[in-house]
Symmetry: C2
Subunit: 77 residues, 2 copies
């Protein structure tokens, strides 16, 4: 008999408001695991340090991820 597992996801609510890449200070991705059965994506805002849980299924977030990880220095060509 498998032991009962306590689900401990970090995100309680998902914030679906659009998010400007420029306002983003940090993006954390927590893969699905035994403690939480789904991927969690947490954005930390640059100025306010506010944290928001994003919807990993959303196209906007997928594009944000792509944009953020591809962005090179535009100031030093």
């Amino acid at each position: 008999i498998p032991l009962a597992r306590t689900v401990r996801c970090t995100c309680i609510t998902i914030d679906d408001r659009p998010l400007k890449p420029r306002a983003l200070g940090k993006l954390e991705i927590i893969p699905a695991s035994l403690s939480c059965p789904h991927v969690e994506i947490i954005a930390t805002m640059k100025k306010s340090d506010e944290k928001r849980c994003l919807n990993p299924e959303s196209e906007a977030i997928k594009n944000l991820l792509k944009a953020v990880s591809q962005k090179r220095s535009k100031r030093a060509p």
Copy 2:
């Protein structure tokens, strides 16, 4: 005359060792900003809590990002 800026990147060295998605506890993406001119990707290992700076230009890391953000629950179909 623009003020001199102090570069404060989080990563000092890049770890190019391959990384198993299963061993990954968390992935942090820090977009390029005034304080650091390039994207930084920091992986936190699940068991050891060890942090590693990954190479954002590496194909392996791009695939890891894709894998991690697309992974749904496989245990609860």
